[in-house]
């Protein structure tokens, strides 16, 4: 009898905690939606910021995150493969620890670093600098995902490949990466979702731009930086637009996360 009561108490406490978490998520979404509703319209996606829309900002944010992914994923994956498959002992452990520390580095520091490294010598803020700042954020995430996902592949699979006359690199490329592909894809998607919502690394690197542009050598449109700017504007219209932009950004991140989870649930 006592066990049953304790069980019920524990169960209700867990359910309560889960609900509290969900309430905040719902609260955030509802607030963003209700505050942004005034300016939420289809024209947000067809007009640029200069005309009261968000088109160029969404495009700019995506493009910078995409460039970061294209540069960061191969680098991070190769580093992760090195750590799990080739690196043994002290040297690999130091790299693994450094990568973990990088993952928790404050993003504003990474922004400042890229500012000194690229923006200052270049002379002005630009889209490349923003992409590189995001790349630096992404690499440790990809390293750690690759390292973890490869560790889940049973060692028998590696041995079976070797036993059939495969070289180590052939076995890794043709078997191990395939066996871990669902996890790796999920990791990359979640990494992408993480960097697409970043503001601090872009603040002094890409800045933002009110006009449509594809020229990465100039100040580049960024949704997050513009939210920051618009929220500080004195007009109600600007602040409404900031709310709408926040809602759209949240939906984008949420969507990518759900797609990522869906992958793992389906096949993991």
């Amino acid at each position: 009898m006592k066990r049953l009561i304790i069980n019920k108490i524990a169960l209700s406490l867990s359910v309560l905690s889960a609900l509290i978490g969900l309430v905040f998520l719902a609260w955030i979404l509802v607030t963003l939606f209700s505050k942004g509703i005034n300016s939420l319209s289809f024209s947000l996606f067809t007009q640029d910021l200069i005309n009261g829309g968000l088109r160029n900002l969404i495009f700019g944010q995506f493009l910078m995150a995409l460039i970061a992914t294209i540069i960061g994923v191969p680098l991070g994956m190769m580093a992760g493969i090195y750590l799990r498959e080739y690196g043994h002992g002290k040297y690999a452990n130091i790299i693994r620890d450094l990568s973990d520390i990088m993952m928790s580095a404050p993003s504003i520091i990474i922004g400042s670093f890229v500012f000194v490294l690229i923006v200052e010598p270049f002379g002005s803020i630009n889209g490349w600098a923003g992409s590189i700042a995001l790349t630096i954020m992404l690499i440790p995430i990809v390293v750690s995902t690759t390292d973890n996902m490869l560790s889940l592949v049973p060692k028998e699979l590696r041995e079976a490949g070797i036993a059939l006359g495969g070289g180590k690199h052939q076995v890794i490329l043709s078997i191990i990466l395939k066996a871990a592909r669902v996890g790796l894809m999920t990791g990359i998607l979640l990494g992408f979702a993480r960097i697409i919502g970043e503001t601090a690394p872009l603040l002094f690197t890409s800045g933002t731009n009110s006009f449509w542009t594809t020229d990465l050598n100039n100040a580049f449109p960024s949704l997050t930086v513009s939210i920051y700017n618009l929220a500080n504007f004195p007009t109600d219209k600007a602040r409404d637009l900031a709310w709408a932009a926040s809602f759209i950004l949240t939906m984008i991140v949420l969507f990518i996360n759900i797609v990522g989870r869906f992958f793992t649930r389906d096949k993991g």
Partner: protein, 263 residues
């Protein structure tokens, strides 16, 4: 007919990287051509360690120490080659094509049934599609799995049952036409019916291939093997024809083990 040895293990000792004591001490064991040799013994006796030395799969991890000789007969020249002398990656690859291995848990690769069997062949440099197909089909036929998979060669190998997966792994190894096949407790993760199918297959395979099998199951050793080696704490205690080991062992320890008094 003179007894032909495909492999001959001479005064072989093995120490794992970082271990204080060797795991195998002065092992002398012949492996007869086209026969099944079983290695039995309680857990930790070193039988799997010995098996894994026969294709040098230990070398996947650095730092292990070998001593003695493991000779592998080169059928064409009739000469013995000591596989412990192998140092070059290319020679390791050749060794593993000649000495195949099957693991305790089935290890299908995450690809189609066809590609699983073609994997080793492609590594061996066979690119011609017709030849590949011929070899894959004959390997599957020779591994008693053809009728079950012939209509689903393009399907993912992960969808097969455990017993089918294990026979697929055997087909994959057999496709390379190895001279020796090493089986590391190949049925301990399978149900009795799948086990029966594998055992039947092993008996069939020994016409072409010499087989070394590690097993915990003494009935299996006595049913399948022509020769049996009993090992205990890193040493080979007794080796003989299987019926002698089971019916008339010379050593007290062997008798205690095969009659189930310990182990």
């Amino acid at each position: 007919m003179a007894k032909k040895l495909i492999m001959d293990i001479k005064d072989f000792s093995f120490r794992y990287a970082g271990a204080e004591k060797p795991s195998l001490m002065s092992i002398n064991l012949p492996v007869h051509k086209n026969k099944v040799t079983a290695m039995i013994g309680p857990s930790g006796c070193g039988k799997s360690t010995l098996l894994r030395a026969l294709n040098r799969i230990h070398d996947l991890y650095p730092g292990h120490e070998y001593q003695g000789k493991i000779n592998l007969l080169n059928s064409s020249s009739g000469e013995n080659e000591n596989i412990l002398d192998i140092k070059k990656e290319n020679d390791f690859i050749k060794l593993r094509q000649r000495v195949g291995m099957i693991f305790q848990k089935p290890t299908p690769f995450p690809m189609s049934i066809f590609d699983n069997v073609a994997y080793g062949l492609k590594l061996a440099g066979i690119k011609n599609k017709t030849i590949l197909e011929e070899k894959v089909v004959s390997a599957l036929q020779g591994s008693a799995i053809w009728t079950e998979v012939k209509d689903r060669l393009k399907e993912d190998a992960m969808g097969l049952s455990g017993g089918q997966q294990q026979r697929l792994c055997i087909a994959r190894a057999v496709a390379l036409r190895p001279e020796v096949l090493l089986l590391d407790e190949p049925t301990s993760a399978l149900d009795p019916i799948s086990t029966g199918a594998i055992e039947e297959l092993v008996t069939e395979l020994k016409k072409d291939i010499s087989i070394v099998i590690v097993t915990h199951n003494m009935q299996q050793a006595s049913r399948l093997s022509d020769y049996t080696a009993f090992m205990y704490i890193g040493k080979l205690i007794e080796y003989n024809k299987t019926d002698k080991i089971f019916l008339n062992p010379k050593e007290k320890l062997t008798e205690d083990y095969v009659t189930g008094r310990f182990g």
